[in-house]
């Protein structure tokens, strides 16, 4: 998650790589509770999320998206 990009940056990088018709959709909030379902996140980092991320953002720490594009 730490390496995730902002949506606009993701799309810009794809365009710079030569892709066209970049489309981003399927937005779905990804919160602390969902992160805790993955064994890759340690209990320590989940605890750090619960402690340091404001309560109102805990259900939407990141956004899961679908990114589509084509090679001309």
């Amino acid at each position: 998650m730490s390496g995730a990009l902002a949506e606009r940056v993701f799309a810009d990088k794809l365009e710079r790589a030569g892709f066209t018709n970049v489309w981003v959709g399927g937005h779905r909030p990804f919160g602390v509770a969902e992160a805790s379902m993955y064994p890759l996140f340690t209990a320590e980092v989940i605890e750090a999320m619960r402690r340091t991320i404001p309560q109102e953002r805990q259900s939407h720490v990141a956004t899961a998206v679908i990114v589509k594009a084509s090679r001309p």
């Binding site: 998650m1 730490s2 390496g3 995730a4 990009l5 902002a6 949506e7 993701f10 990088k13 794809l14 710079r16 790589a17 030569g18 892709f19 981003v24 959709g25 399927g26 779905r28 990804f30 969902e34 992160a35 379902m37 993955y38 064994p39 890759l40 996140f41 340690t42 320590e44 980092v45 750090a48 999320m49 340091t52 991320i53 953002r57 720490v61 990141a62 956004t63 899961a64 998206v65 679908i66 990114v67 589509k68 594009a69 084509s70 090679r71 001309p72």
Partner: protein
Amino acid sequence: MSFDDRRVMARDLMFQQEIKDNVAQSYRSIESGGGEAVARKLYSDAELAELPAHAVRWALGVANPIRYAFLQPGETVLDVGSGGGIDTILAARRVGSTGSAIGLDILEEMCERAGTHATAAGVAGWTRFVQGEMEDIPLPDASVDVVISNGVLNLSARKSRAMAEIHRVLRPGGRICLGDLTLDTELPIEVAADPSAWAG
């Protein structure tokens, strides 16, 4: 290039290697994925019914790129960061035996695991898993029709390089359908700097 520039470049390269090693080690250390709890958030009952139970245990994606990829019979699909093989198997079912599905994963053991799942799913005849990095995909130029991925691009310390490689292996007119995480606001430093947050 000045000495300072070379020093910054060397530090960045070390940082990239550190991230890559951390991600590989984190994935090597887990004994299963997110299991049914994660899988049921992403896939329909009908999609889950297409998968061996052991594959479902290895659900580690964040979205459902198959649902948006509109794969066609006969197409060649590459799944970048295929993990336990869930999306590769679903892709293989949609392209059928006239097409092919290729899973790419940085870990050899994950490729072997996914291969076992593909055999159990009955799609091994037109599915293969190759060990390699998304920043240096071991496939020829313009050799695939569609690239899918699920929660993997965010793990790369060299995203522009990975995107360039995906572009290289796609045939002209080919398409990508990637599930991934994006961030609208920065993570607190205590979270962002934690190695497990770079792998998860």
